[in-house]
């Protein structure tokens, strides 16, 4: 993975020292809360319901074992022994003390980590395919380009005070695991007809109170022109974005108002002014690419007798292998996705002890590489098939072998009203209820891929708009109610779901999901996923069943 140089390291140490001084001035009363709040937010520190929350950046969801161990130890020392992985591949600590934060930032800086640009109206952490560099599906490694964006966008003076926050996603594979089409900018890597590398550029997607699947404004952007083109997009947005109205300030509103064609035209005009001198030199791209050079893989055959024998003897391992392994580009290797969705637990939470085990496994069996998914799971991207039984056993020993990736219990849920000061309703208990309802793994596998995404408010951190089944918590006269949407997708077939009907009280949500699943199992044809069946039948059979039950 990319290694910080001396300049990066010195900068992070200086920044942590600066925040220590700022916290000292706040505690001494030399600056007011109004003065301090923007400063702490620039360092990822929010004040939530029960305590401060620190959001730590995990650049493009990539971690090494030393970093994960430090996160584990911060959880143990300064929080309650756990951390929460978010839908933007970051990690949040929910029980942080202001007075401890300078020490925490020092600990992070020691392993090249920080909380910069995890808040505020700036360019946030770039989301990348968690299978980067491992999946057989990719045309190029998106981490190279994500790192280039990280360097370009970090503390970029022109783009530190945008009309609103700005999020970029990159997928190197046609199969999209980044929700690229609902980011401010989604970049989908392509090979041109002449074999050159480039991006399809999608701008103005987004969730929140006004969800959009972003339109493509450029079919093929040569890869080496990426930075100047991003600069042109940001410049048009910075100039015309609605600073007068927070709810209309995201780029999606501007693109929608101008139309994709006109927005694209303005970007082209701006891009022509910037010219190729606005791009990174090829030598710099090559230098960054060097940091992601292919690892030293052994030459293996694509079948492990040890693994096959172990699977035949252990149904739990066989089930884990069916659901949590993905094809690796090298023979004899696999991608292991570790579900943080154990039945009845909080989606995305990992204890410090679990993080330590994952770090150990990555070191011993996984080439020291760890990824975070936007669906709140962890990935060991490079494991030999021979080693899967040992990894599975070690994961099972700490409750991390839940075999449900992409199944109905592999839900996204935001922290919701249990933690978040913005939330209107809880999300976690709804996820727990649903997980218990579908705890039977045989039934979960029979249902197949079904993505449930739950948000505790319209800001949509839980991506409910793009859930095959989306659940939105709303506040009805102070009581928690939940609106269901169907037919959304955050993948390459992105779509915003449509509302099923009137909101339901909390205790009716899991039974309603059960009803929806029964309708799907009754209606489905062949290998259809829930989403495919819904798209074919439309909402009527689902709506009739849920509200017949409700009456």
């Amino acid at each position: 993975m990319y290694q910080y140089d001396t300049l990066d390291k010195e900068f992070l140490a200086d920044r942590a020292a600066e925040f220590r001084e700022q916290v000292g001035r706040r505690l001494a009363g030399e600056i007011t809360e109004d003065q301090f709040k923007p400063i702490r937010l620039m360092n990822g520190l929010y004040l939530q319901l029960h305590a401060y929350m620190l959001r730590v950046a995990i650049p493009y969801g990539s971690l090494n074992p030393a970093q994960l161990r430090v996160l584990a130890d911060i959880g143990r020392t300064y929080d309650k022994g756990y951390g929460h992985f978010t839908t933007r591949q970051n990690l949040q600590f929910h029980w942080i003390k202001l007075a401890d934060t300078p020490d925490i930032l020092d600990r992070l800086a020691a392993v090249d980590m920080h909380a910069i640009q995890t808040s505020g109206n700036c360019i946030r952490n770039t989301t990348a395919d968690p299978y980067s560099g491992a999946t057989v599906e990719e045309v190029d490694d998106p981490r190279v380009w994500s790192e280039a964006i990280r360097q370009w966008s970090s503390l970029h003076p022109e783009f530190s005070f945008l009309p609103r926050k700005f999020k970029i996603a990159i997928t190197g594979a046609a199969k999209d695991r980044t929700a690229a089409k609902v980011h401010d900018i989604g970049l989908m890597m392509r090979r041109g007809r002449d074999g050159t590398l480039g991006f399809e550029v999608i701008v103005g997607g987004g969730l929140g109170r006004t969800p959009f699947v972003g339109p493509t404004i450029k079919e093929f952007l040569p890869a080496n022109r990426l930075v100047s083109y991003l600069e042109a997009v940001l410049r048009v947005y910075n100039r015309h974005g609605r600073r007068d109205n927070k709810y209309k300030a995201r780029i999606k509103i501007l693109v929608s108002a101008l139309g994709a064609e006109e927005f694209g035209r303005q970007v082209e005009e701006e891009w022509a002014k910037i010219g190729p001198e606005g791009d990174l030199p090829d030598t710099e791209i090559a230098r960054i690419r060097g940091a992601f050079a292919p690892l030293a893989f052994d030459s293996l055959v694509n079948r492990s007798e040890a693994f096959e024998t172990a699977k035949a003897a252990d149904p739990a391992l066989a089930r884990f292998a069916r659901n949590n392994l993905r094809e690796h580009k090298r023979a004899g290797y696999t991608i292991i996705e570790i579900s943080l969705k154990a039945i009845g637990e909080t989606p995305g939470d990992a204890t410090s002890d679990q993080m330590d085990v994952i770090a150990d496994l990555a070191e011993r069996y996984g080439q020291g590489d760890i990824r975070v998914t936007h669906e709140q799971n962890i990935v060991l991207p490079h494991v030999k098939l021979d080693d899967v039984p040992a990894v599975h056993a070690a994961l099972a020993a700490v409750g991390l072998a839940t075999p449900n990736v992409n199944l109905i219990t592999d839900m996204i849920a935001c922290p919701g009203l249990d933690y978040c000061a913005l939330a209107n309703a809880r999300a976690i208990p709804i996820a727990q209820d649903i997980a218990r309802t579908f705890a039977d793994q045989d039934r979960a596998e029979l249902i197949g891929e079904l993505k449930i995404k739950i948000s505790g408010c319209i800001n949509a951190c839980g991506h409910h708009h793009v859930g095959h089944i989306g659940i939105l918590g709303v506040d009805k006269k102070g009581e928690e109610f939940y609106q269901l949407t169907l037919g959304g997708s955050g993948a390459e077939d992105a779509a915003v779901g449509s509302m099923l009907g009137p909101a339901l009280p909390a205790d009716r949500v899991a039974p309603a999901i059960d009803t929806l699943v029964e309708v799907y199992l009754r209606e489905r044809q062949g290998q259809e996923r829930f989403l495919d069946t819904f798209r074919r039948t439309g909402v009527v059979p689902f709506k009739e069943a849920v509200y017949a039950d409700a009456n």
Binding site: L27, T32, L41, L49, H50, K80, K97, K165, T346
Partner: protein, 118 residues
């Protein structure tokens, strides 16, 4: 009936006003039957910039013979998260905590909605 609450500056802990000081348990909070007394305490609290962040008054209702915040959000603040029952103030247990857990009032919380912005 009202109480005065906020988050302590140094650690973010949820605290409640009691006669010029701040206590961690809702059960120990000073209760204001008189609107003017509550507002005077709030004004005083707002001057304690190095102690408390964004203090505000909350409405209360009766629950099992005790008082509880009307809004669910405020009851969560006074208890802790429902996904980790051993985290937060609820871990202590007892009659006062149970009364909060059983309270069923419903109203929008007015205090903290704009406290943080993403």
């Amino acid at each position: 009936m009202k109480a005065l609450t906020g988050n302590r500056l140094t650690d973010g802990e949820v605290v409640f006003w009691k006669a010029g000081a701040w206590v961690e348990r809702f059960a120990d909070a000073e209760l204001f039957a008189d609107a003017e007394a509550g507002e005077a305490a709030e004004a005083h609290a707002k001057s304690q910039q190095t102690v408390i962040v964004d203090p505000y008054l909350i409405d209360l209702i009766e629950s099992e013979g005790l008082w509880a915040p009307v809004s669910y959000r405020e009851r969560l603040r006074a208890l802790g998260p429902t996904n980790h029952l051993h985290h937060g103030k609820q871990a202590e247990g007892g009659a006062a905590i149970e009364a909060l857990q059983h309270a069923s009032g419903a109203a929008r919380s007015k205090g903290r909605v704009n406290l943080i912005k993403r």
